[in-house]
Subunit: 82 residues, 2 copies
Amino acid sequence: MYKVEVFVTYKESILDPQGEAIKGSVHRMGYNDVQEIRQGKYFEMKIEKKEQNIEEIVEKICDKILANPVMESYRYNISEVE
Amino acid sequence: MYKVEVFVTYKESILDPQGEAIKGSVHRMGYNDVQEIRQGKYFEMKIEKKEQNIEEIVEKICDKILANPVMESYRYNISEVE
């Protein structure tokens, strides 16, 4: 079995209003040294190991479903689990 | 400067309907070997390095703002960047 972790974040040039709002809350808690917060999405997938071309499959799933390639970028890592 | 990555996921016992819906889409794409998808949140924070007790601060921010400790668990990693 493969365990795949996918991290989807807005591209640097895209504003992240939710991250800005969270930063405001963090500052109101008194942590003014937090300079930036950006929110993204995180996915954990379990995929049966018979798939040969696991990276190709993961990239297709990311491009078509998990991320919006216009505004978001993603990275992933694949590990083998029991 | 510290760069902090936070991963927030539902606890195992909590249903993740969004992850289930995504799994449905992935199966309709033909990738039936994907057995499980769970969605979580991902945050990147930049924190000024003068903070001494960085782990304590990160945990407070996670417990109070980024995660709901009743339903979610989180993990984080801290690295030093320029």
